[in-house]
Each structure stands twice: as C-alpha cells, then as structure tokens.
C-alpha cells in the first residue's frame, strides 16, 4: 500500500465511508467538525507529522490533506 492509499484508508475508516482523492469535505455529511479533528489527529499520530492548528480550517478536502503532507 502506498502512503497515499494508507491516508485515504485512514480517512475512510474515520468517516465510515469510502472516500477518494477527489472527495471534498462539504460533500460529505458525516465530515463534521468532530470528524475533522479526529482525521487530523489520526493522520498526525499515524504518520508522525505535525499539522499546525492554524491550518485546520484551510483543510477542506482529501487533496488538501495530501498536499500538506507533500504527497502527490
């Protein structure tokens, strides 16, 4: 599994639905603020990265998350 796939899996697990790299937060009902925080925290802990709190509101899609982690 590539890192990209692992990240998409992690996000899907938390939202309890399958997402892909084009999924946008606003499209998904389940992706509320609690889930948003959970996703950020899970990514940080699993991939050993830091996502500054100031950036949380700038993250609105799976692509944003991949970008912040510098994964194309």
């Amino acid at each position: 599994m590539t890192t990209k796939e692992a990240i998409i899996n992690t996000i899907s697990d938390i939202l309890k639905r399958q997402v892909d790299e084009n999924t946008v937060k606003d499209e998904i009902q389940e992706w509320d603020s609690l889930k948003h925080l959970q996703i950020i925290m899970e990514i940080e802990e699993q991939f050993n990265v830091v996502i500054p709190i100031e950036d949380l509101s700038k993250i609105n899609s799976v692509k944003d998350i991949l970008n912040i982690l510098r994964i194309s």
Binding site: S33, L34, L37, Q38, I40, M41, E42, E44, E45, I53, L56
Partner: protein
Amino acid sequence: MKIAVLSNVNVDSISEKLNDQFQVYTPPGFNTWINEISNDNSGLNIFDPDVVFILVDGISLFSESLFEDAIHIMDDLINFINKYAEKHSKKKIIVSNIDVKDPKLVPFKYYKDTSRIENIWVEKLKSLNRENIYIFDLQELIRDNGRNLMYSDKGWYFGGMRFSMNGEKIIVSEISKILSAFKGGQKKCIVLDLDNTLWGGIIGEDGINGISLSDVKEGSQYKDFQKRLKDLKNMGVLLAISSKNNFDDAIEVIRNHPHMVLKEDDFVSMKINWEPKYVNIQKIAQDLNIGLNSIVFIDDDKFERESVKTQLPEVEVPDFPQDSTMLAKWVARLQKDYFEFIEVTEEDLEKTEMYKSQEKRKTLLEQSASFEDYLSSLEMKLKIWNLKKEDVPRAAQLTQKTNQFNVTTKRYTEFDLEKMMADPSFSLYVGSVSDKFGDNGKVVFLIVKKDKDIAYIDTFLMSCRVMGRHIEDHVVDFVEEEMKKQGIKKIRTYYIPTKKNISVKNLWDDLGYQRISEDQNGEVSYEIDLENKPKRKVYSQLVI
C-alpha cells in the same frame, strides 16, 4: 448491555468507538456529568444504563487548583458519585483514578508532587465502601503508554478532547475488556508446554543443571513468567501441562529444581508423553469436564501451535512472544484477553484442589463394588445453615451460573439476596459438602418463602460437582424438618424446564412430591404434606 460514559472532558469520540459493540450513552456537551447523575430526568437516567463509566481527567480538574481547593472539589464530586451509587445500587459504576500534571514551571529544587492528590482521590472513593463502585486504573494506562502518546494538545485546544486517537483506542480497548468480564465468558484452563516455555532449554538434552531457570539474568525471565502464571492459578485458573518429554526427566525439574515456582500441586493435569499434543488437550478437557473452548494453549513451538489450531479450532492459541524478555509481561496480556475476572471467591481460589479431589473420587468409584458402596465410603458430610452476609457473593454466583441442577433457574444478584435476607418471610439456606477427599465448598442453595402454613421453594440448586450422590435427598429432608419446626404443614415447589436442567425433570417426583398441575410450557407445580413425607435413604452425615 447498556453503558454510559461520563467525563469532565469531551469523550464523544470514545463513546463513538464503543458504539460498535454496546449501546452507549454520552451526554451532549462536556462537563455536564454532575447534572446528568443528579437529575432524575436527565438523558442518563432516561437511558438507564447497566454500567456507568466515569472517566475523570485529573489535569483539567485539579492542575491549577491549590491543594485545599482541590480537596473541596473532590469532596463535592465524591458526594455526587456516592448519592448516585446509592440510588442505583444495581448499576455498576466504574470511576477512574486520576493523572494530575502540574503545568507550572518551577526551579529544580521545587519538586512538584501530584501523587498526594491522586492518592487522596482513590482513598475517598474506597472509603465510600460501596459494592457497586469499581475503580478503573486510568493512571496505569497513562504510565504504561506515556503521556505523550495518550494525550493530545491539539485535541484539547481544538475540541476539549484530552486524549489522542491512540489514547482513545487504548482506553476503549480497556473498557471493552472490562465490560466483557462482566458478561462472563472467561476461559478456565491454560495448557502449558515445558521446554523453552516454563524454562529455557530442553530438559531431555540439557539436563536439570543445563536448563535456564534462576533468579538472575536469562533464567529469571522464565522464573518471572512462572510467577505471573501462578498469579493466574491463584485466581482460579487451572494450569495443565502438555509436553513431549520423558516423564521422569520433566518431573525431576518440577519436583526438585530450586527455582521452579510452579510445583506439582499447582497443576491439575500433567500430560508428559510422546503423544500428539492435541490428543493430550482433548484428554485434559475430558478429565476436567470442560469445553475445548475454555482452554488456552501456550507453546513456544510454532509447529505445535499450528497443529493444535488445525486439529482443535475451539482452543485459543495465542502467539508466543518472539523475545523471551517479554514473557512475564505477556501474561498480563493473557489475563486481559482470556482471564479478566471481576472478583474471585473462595471457591475460585481452590479450584485446582477441587479438580484434583475429583480425580480421586473417580478412582474410588472405579474400585468400588457398587455405587452404594462408593457413596458410603466417600464419608460425605453435609452442613446447612441460614445465609449469612459473607455467603452472599457465592450464593448469587451460584444462582447465576448453575444450570443443570437447578429446578427453577431464577437468577439473583447480591442485592436481591440481601433484600430477601432482610425479609422474615424468606428462609435462605446455604450448604457445603465435604468428603474424605476434600471440601467441595458451598455448593447448595435454597430460597424458601413462607406464607402462613405453606412454604414455597422458589430456588433449589446444587453445583454439578455434587450431583448424583443423593445429597439432594438429605438437603430436602433438612429443609422439610426446619419448616415443620416453624409450623409449616405443606411445601409447594416447581420445576421450570430449560435446555440445561433436564436432569432434574423428575427430581420432585423422585423425592415423593405430588404433581398438582402442569402447563403447556412444561412447568410443573408440586406439593408435599409434611405429615406424610417419605423416608429417604441418605449417604451423608449432617454436621453442625
């Protein structure tokens, strides 16, 4: 099972994770737990959970407080918890201990001691002395895993969530294990290999002086492993051996090695031979009269493990640690996975002894000329007395676990029995049985309700350990005599059929009771006139 999770921090995420396995209620918002437990109309009280977890975050509760203020806050909280526990005595209330971190920066000499306040919290909880309050060791989880892993600053500042995702997973895992323990389903027996399991090396090749088992270094890995296994044995877990060895080689170690923690007496069965291990395990299950699914098999050899997994898929076969330094700690994992007991009664502690005595009885039976001869030569003694406070846990356990010799199969909690004890129209009897091979412990329980000159036997049960020895005849004789002394003229009782109590279908008929009625579910009611009761043959002696 309905559970509630309350906290002074946001635990929505924890509840969500538990929701897969249980019905979970968590109040909206956070720090509303005091309201929820004190208010009769709260969401919590409407939900009516069976188990309530109160996860207390020590950091947000106490860290900035002065010591004296902290004590006041604590007293208030403990008071609320106490009132709730008293009002809902059938609910289990599990309160965590606390981890307190003082964030203030200080010079080196000024040592910040938060342990005092952490300890006082636990002392205050314990001093409530409530049977339905349990303590959840949150502190240990945090210590074992580290604050850096368990907590999340981002979660806290952004969402009032104290714990990290990893921390929540760990907490959820603990909570699940505890809830499973309340449900039952723990295993009963561990079957152990010997070479490279209970000691390092192979006895057949290395000899008793060559194996690794000592107080220091490598040998102490195995000694510590044995110590933790002994802890499990002392909780009522049965230990057995299945080892491919010459019996004499192995028994020499078990009997004579100075660092052997587990002795011959600690094992209920030792299958030391060259047979396939799965055959031995089947025999062990038969000897002990337990299911294969109650057995956990431990062996360092992957081939042996795979073989047992294939042949006996019901047996639990955990992976053996690859590194022997992890052995002793691994037993804690085994406890969590298979042997998480809430409480241990006297009877549990003596299980190994009891199984061994049972073996001796079997041998006597084989050697007796007739069954009556066997019963007489057992020299059984029966003791019956009115239920006392210290008998209550065992009696409740019996009503919950006894399925075969149980005429009405009514399940009672300790609380139920205490209520009956306080009611003079009830007579509750406990009985113990011993014979020349040992004491079977408290194995008989009856609940009798008196109404004018008629007594109703609501519950009559016996542990299957003592079935088939006509003890029941003697017990019923005794109770009838007791009732006669109290002016009772007739006794009424019942048989309520279940899948498991077929063996007592005709018990009352055999004891001379008359059938009064039978309904379409197979429930039969009986009556006996105490002036005309039959004389019964008994093989036990009644002792005071």
